[in-house]
């Protein structure tokens, strides 16, 4: 592997890790608080991407400025979070919190299957492409390699801001403290007056919005087509399991590890590309079954 390929693999890995982190951190946040592994998270990611591409194509065709691509991503994320996330928690999950985990998993899996079909119904099987945001930021040259500023600078910055923002939110704001309290001990939270049901709803909306934002951010870098949600949810599971369930900073490290592992595999052993994230997960879990940052007893977010 020559130096240029190495740099390229590094950049690919960082850019990809930033996207995976956005989705994985929402997944791990939801798991930390609700103790539900949300399989439908992948669909929320895909729908975030579809919504961004569809609305973007429509408004750019109508002559609006491509700068709107960025606020549009936020709008798509909030739409996915509030409408899909809110409905899913209110109508389905809130009814089954005290049921066996297997049932919860099956319900979110069923939602995933349904949302996959809904995507095909609404957007069909053809790929969509809308890269206004990437074009707008242009390319940069770094270590002799040309790369899009969007993927090399913007995406990692957004991921970093999300990580720091989320941590500050949980530590410093009252709502964040309520979420932390419910995560640690739901019943104790209730006997000091915290409405745990509302915290669950809020957390699920926030987590779903993060998945939607991940999809929105990914949309200008790739073709949006059926199946992207499946790929992302499986990879996010690998990240979350590697990090330790409920670990926010851990998800960032694991996303980097898996993102880089995957991108180096692309250049070195392309046939292993799909396998590498799971090999990393397997190796980590063999040594530390609770994940890199998880502790077997206490759970924290």
């Amino acid at each position: 592997m020559n130096a240029q390929l190495f740099i390229l693999a590094l950049f690919d890995g960082v850019a990809y890790a930033a996207l995976v982190f956005m989705v994985a951190v929402g997944l791990t946040l939801i798991f930390g608080v609700l103790r539900v592994l949300n399989v439908a998270h992948g669909s929320l990611y895909a729908i975030g991407a579809y919504v961004t591409v569809s609305i973007g194509s429509a408004i750019f065709a109508a002559g609006y400025s491509p700068v709107l691509a960025f606020p549009l991503m936020l709008v798509a994320a909030i739409l996915v979070g509030v409408v899909l996330g809110g409905l899913m928690e209110k109508l389905l999950l809130s009814r089954i919190y005290d049921r066996p985990e297997v049932l919860q998993l099956l319900v979110t899996f069923a939602v995933f299957m349904m949302l996959e079909d809904v995507q095909r119904l609404v957007w069909g099987n053809q790929p969509y492409f809308q890269s206004a945001a990437v074009n707008l930021l242009g390319n940069i040259e770094l270590f002799g390699v040309f790369y899009t500023s969007y993927q090399l600078i913007f995406l990692p910055l957004v991921a970093l801001a999300t990580l720091i923002g989320l941590r500050l939110f949980l530590r410093r704001t009252l709502t964040g403290k309520l979420i932390t309290a419910v995560t640690e001990d739901r019943e104790a939270a209730q006997f000091i007056g915290i409405n745990a049901e509302r915290v669950y709803l809020l957390t699920f909306i926030a987590g779903a919005a993060l998945a939607g934002l991940g999809g929105a951010l990914a949309s200008p870098t790739t073709s949006v087509l059926p199946g992207i949600g499946t790929e992302m949810i499986v990879l996010s599971f690998a990240v979350v399991a590697t990090a330790g369930l409920g670990q926010i900073e851990g998800a960032a490290v694991a996303a980097l590890l898996i993102g880089l592992g995957r991108s180096f595999a692309v250049y070195l052993y392309p046939e292993l590309q799909v396998l590498v994230p799971y090999l990393i997960m397997l190796l980590v879990l063999l040594v530390r079954p609770e994940g890199l940052f998880g502790s077997p007893a206490a759970r924290k977010i």
Binding site: L178, D185, A188, Q190, I192, G193, N195, A196, A298
Partner: protein
Amino acid sequence: MLQFDDVDVFIDGVPILRNLSFRVAPSETVALIGRNGAGKTTTLRSVMGFTDVRGAIRVGGEDVTKLAAPQRPTLGIGYAPEDRRLFSAFSVEENILLPGQVAKLGSAEISRRLDKVYTILPELKEMAGRPAGNVSGGQGKMVALGRALMIGTKLLMLDEPFQGLAPALAHRYAEALGKLRDVDPDVTLIITESNPQLLKSFARRTLTIERGEIAEDTRKEDAA
């Protein structure tokens, strides 16, 4: 202040409280005595909304069984469970403040109540910044009492507070309860205990619970 009317509670099909009825007047200090499994903890948990209750439980005249669990503390009910249940992610002071913040009491009222907590339990002020996960079990009981005091202005329920305390700490805790009575003579205090001797000194009234029913209700007139 607290009134149980024909309360039945089943847990996994087993009757834990049977037709339980009693009344506690405002500003009373009551020791709820009984063996392990008699239903003391279930009685307190039923007030907080963590059991399926048949019958009525009234706090200050209001039937709390109609309220969701998290709405009940706002009536002025503070609860310190036997196993403390502090939030280890927060500092000692954050644990004490949280019920006040949740109830949106306003910063002036919260700091007034925090001062009250520190007057009753001065040792908590010294460990205010320590992570609640790092305090000893006995200190944790004090923190749990402090947290209950923040919201429990009308009714304080302490579940086996002396359980597992070293004698010196148990003495300190009893002292703090005495101080609480001085500072806040109007609050209703319910303390469960399996060892009746411990509470004799400051509970005027002893309710003995056996197999989910009140077996004995004794008052003494001379106690402080």
